[in-house]
């Protein structure tokens, strides 16, 4: 049967691209069965997405760092520190929230430029430069929370970022469902299908290889079903949370910048071959500054998402975030050799890791085993990546 043959061929050729989607799907199905459906309940999925947010954001920034062949170990405690700074600004200095958020993002950007300077200008290995940052920010969190301990945040607007949901239109039609979420979901599916069709037409116009029609339809149906399913599930609870909206905006911007712009192309060129990029007129130093700078800014965002979710800044905020982010990036298919990896992959990677935690929590598996399973999944993802690299 030629359809099955086509399907096999397409899957084999694109296994790297589809692999993590399939992995995520399998994980969800397995947990759905093992937890008698609790895992895919609206409430749990909604929670899961909110928990993923602050790691996904870091993972996206980390992907670009790893693409240009560096690493950033400082982002976890930097996030924790900046979350505390935001809390202090609101609780003690009484700054308005609309000043605090951009100000903290800006501080993050500036702090990110420090390892950028050390790596680009001084030639210090990123591992060492950011390990220093790791220690410094850890100390900094303790310093700013020394007198007060946990700082409670009482600003409702700020706390809504981590806990709130977008408003619905007040009509009596379909009372059980969140209408705005449904509309957005349908819009997303329509836009996706239009985008795919346009892409296919352009490729055909240039006589490039395109998927066979039946596989193409299958792919569209599968993805639409996934988006539709997610929408349905979320609409059945409180709808889209602000965290998810923030993550989508970040992914949208980063995906656009990394795949469509000159800047993005320069980043991947530096990752692919820094010497060649430099000789092609790409300013490798500037790119390095930029990538570390954006990482600092996303660390600020991550720190605020986390603080908002807890409605407080704690002395241990940010612990192990950097390793979760690195794991998300690698599960998402970034290559340590540089030049390869998508920001959307980091989102999926973060979801995979968060799903494991959530699913195992529901099953009542102890934290000790959870670490081992997550470690094994990370190893498996990288093994898979290496094994399929030369396809």
């Amino acid at each position: 049967m030629s359809f099955m043959k086509d399907l096999q061929k397409v899957l084999r050729q694109n296994i790297r691209e589809y692999g993590m989607f399939i992995a995520l799907f399998v994980i969800w199905v397995v947990f759905a069965i093992l937890t008698d459906g609790i895992f895919i309940s609206s409430r749990n999925i909604s929670n899961l997405l909110n928990q993923t947010g602050y790691i996904a954001v870091l993972g996206i920034g980390m992907t670009l760092i790893i693409v240009i062949r560096h690493i950033d170990l400082s982002v976890g405690f930097l996030a924790g520190f900046l979350g505390a700074v935001a809390a202090i600004a609101m609780a003690f200095w009484e700054w308005p929230v609309y000043v605090v958020i951009p100000a903290v993002l800006l501080i993050g950007l500036l702090l990110g430029l420090i390892p950028g300077f050390l790596v680009a200008q001084m030639g210090i290995p990123a591992f060492v430069a950011t390990l220093a940052g790791f220690l410094i920010y850890r100390g900094a969190i303790l310093v700013v929370t020394e007198e007060t301990g946990t700082i409670i945040i009482s600003n409702d607007t700020f706390n809504a970022i981590g806990n709130g949901f977008i408003k619905d239109i007040p009509v009596s039609f379909l009372p059980e469902l969140h209408k705005v979420t449904l509309i957005l979901g349908i819009a997303a599916i329509v836009l996706y299908i239009i985008g795919e069709l346009n892409g296919r037409r352009t490729k055909q116009a240039y006589n490039f290889d395109v998927l066979p029609m039946n596989i193409f339809i299958l792919k569209i149906a599968f993805t639409s079903l996934l988006i539709g399913g997610m929408t349905w599930v979320l609409a059945g609870y409180n709808g889209l949370s602000w965290t998810v909206v923030v993550v989508f905006i970040v992914v949208g911007i980063y995906n656009f910048v990394s795949t469509r712009t000159v800047l993005g192309r320069h980043i991947y060129a530096v990752g692919g071959n820094p010497e060649a990029a430099e000789l092609s007129g790409v300013n490798v130093k500037k790119i390095t500054y930029f990538v570390f700078g954006q990482m600092g800014m996303l660390a600020a965002l991550s720190g605020m998402l986390f603080a908002s979710r807890l409605q407080s800044a704690t002395t241990t905020a940010g612990t192990l975030f950097e390793l979760d982010a690195i794991a998300a990036a690698f599960v998402g298919g970034v290559s340590a050799a540089g030049g390869v990896g998508k920001v959307t992959g980091a989102l999926i990677g973060a979801l995979v890791m968060a799903s494991l935690t959530s699913g195992m929590n529901l099953m009542g598996i102890g934290i000790s085993y959870q670490y081992m399973v997550r470690g094994a999944v990370l190893a498996a993802a990288v093994i898979f990546d290496v094994a399929t690299r030369n396809r």
Partner: protein, 508 residues
């Protein structure tokens, strides 16, 4: 010479996804001969040698390998080494930070108990160096040696594994003429010691000089095996078999036009390299006129590439003094981008290391240096990119299944064309070509020369750096000769001869 084949490869077929790299190739090498394996880039030479050395293990190809009369099924390079086959790749596999003796015995260290026996290692390393006639201290670190000497160390390393068959993949591509002579003396000497040698090469002159027999591959098939002792090996015959057509002239004809408009000039150009704490360029003066090809000749390590880089935005961070003028305007480039903006482009000699981004596709490589041209407000126009890449694919005749093919999968000649396309897309006025035909085959060379001629016809000026004297003489309008960081002479093409250039190139 005995008449038993030491190696026989029968009906070797090797396929990669979508490509049949080797198609029923047969290859026989007699014991104690120097056998050259030639063919255009992409003909399958390297693939055949990888099959032989076990890089592609038994089972991934079809056909038989007989070595020393026995059927072999290598599962990796260690297996083939044990059997007595040693291979030396074009890119040397030495660890620069380690000493010569450590390198020679790397992977098969001499041990006493659990520890490495360094005294014995050094003694045996000395012996190996004597065998390859290299008179250096084995405690020197490899990075301090020139390429020619590194090559000899590599051979010593391979010989220390007691090989009976030595495979050299383009061993002379990075060597100057003295080193080549040295190497060939060594190979002849090894022959008398019973070591058989397979040499992959592009250089016909070298084949004429050293080969006992020659096998020609084309498009993954064996075309013929020629015997030098029967007079079958001639340049014309080789070229005919390699490209499947006769090339009358390796260098396409072009009128030497004389323009007096100097568009590029350096004066008292001096550079100091803080990394090696040495002045690498001394008081150089050079000018380029509109529409001419200026040859920059010199031996390996004479400072030609350093001169080019110091002009092209100085990415290595030399301390540069002197004047640089483009169209009479005094300039100083602090980054390659500034040089590009001023209309200067540099096609690097090592396309894999610092020319191309191998993991990206053809179109991304072609547009990299001038992305802004096809971008609106920072967003790349994909359609414009595809159009540009396709134009270059057809105008430069880049052989690739699609412009979405990753560059790593292309042959050397086609990679070079992609590299050239990238720099033509920035539409430079002055194009610096550093060894533009290094490691590529005769057919692709001819195409590159033709392109160069078209470019100067259109008014571009070219500075061509080359180690090959025939290339310098065949292509240039004017020649500068560099020796030890100094321009020692300038010759109009009518006065230039190989002897004069060599004389100037070895003056310092």
């Amino acid at each position: 010479m005995s008449n038993t084949p030491i190696l026989e490869m029968r009906n070797i077929t090797k396929e990669f996804p979508g490509v049949k790299a080797l198609d029923e190739v047969s290859f026989r090498v007699q014991e104690g001969e120097i056998h050259c394996l030639v063919g255009e880039n992409g003909a399958g030479k390297s693939t055949l040698m990888k099959v032989l050395s076990g890089v592609y293990p038994y089972g991934t190809y079809s056909g038989d390998i007989l070595f020393g009369g026995e059927l072999q099924q290598f599962d990796g390079i260690r297996d083939s080494e044990k059997t007595g086959i040693g291979i030396i790749y074009q890119e040397l596999a030495l660890v620069p930070e380690m000493t010569v003796y450590e390198n020679i015995f790397m992977g098969h260290e001499i041990t006493k108990g659990l520890a490495v026996d360094w005294n014995e290692t050094i003694r045996q390393a000395d012996n190996m160096l004597k065998k390859v006639k290299l008179d250096i201290n084995t405690a020197v670190r490899v990075k301090e040696l020139g390429v020619g000497k590194q090559q000899l160390v590599e051979i010593a390393k391979t010989l220390s594994k007691n090989v009976r068959l030595l495979i050299l993949d383009e061993p002379t591509s990075a060597l100057n003429e003295d080193d080549v002579d040295n190497l060939f003396d060594l190979l002849r000497d090894l022959k008398t010691q019973g070591v058989t040698c397979i040499m992959i090469t592009h250089k016909l002159k070298e084949i004429m000089e050293i080969a006992d027999s020659v096998t020609v591959l084309r498009d993954g098939k064996t075309i013929c095996t020629l015997d030098a002792h029967k007079g079958e090996v001639t340049e014309n015959a080789l070229i005919k078999h390699m490209v499947g057509r006769e090339i009358d002239n390796i260098y396409p004809k072009r009128e030497h036009k004389r323009s007096d408009e100097i568009i590029f000039e350096i004066e008292n150009w001096t550079a100091y390299d803080p990394a090696v704490e040495r002045t690498i360029l001394k008081n150089n003066n050079l000018n380029v006129k509109k529409g001419e090809i200026v040859g920059l000749s010199g031996l390996m390590g004479s400072g030609r590439t350093e001169l080019a880089l110091s002009i092209f935005g100085n990415p290595e961070g030399y301390h540069v003094e002197g004047n640089l003028r483009v169209y009479g305007k005094k300039q100083r480039f602090n980054h390659p981008q500034e040089a590009i903006n001023a209309g200067v482009a540099y096609v690097s000699e090592d396309r894999k290391r610092n020319g191309l981004i191998l993991i990206q596709d053809v179109k991304q490589n072609v547009t990299l240096a001038n992305l802004r041209e096809i971008a609106k407000r920072g967003v790349v126009d994909d359609n414009a990119e595809i159009k540009i890449a396709n134009e270059f694919k057809s105008s430069l005749n880049i052989k690739t299944p699609s412009i979405e093919q990753k560059v790593v999968n292309l042959s050397g000649g086609n990679q070079q064309k992609v590299s050239l396309a990238k720099w033509l897309f920035v539409k430079p006025n002055i194009l610096i070509l550093d060894e533009p035909t290094r490691g590529i085959d005769v057919g692709a060379k001819y195409e590159i020369y033709t392109i160069m001629n078209q470019l100067v016809e259109q008014g571009m000026s070219i500075i061509m750096i080359s180690s090959e004297l025939p290339e310098i003489l065949g292509m240039s309008d004017r020649v500068y000769i560099v020796s030890s960081g100094e321009i020692t002479g300038e010759l109009p093409i009518e006065e230039a001869t190989q002897e004069k250039i060599m004389h100037l190139a070895t003056r310092n």
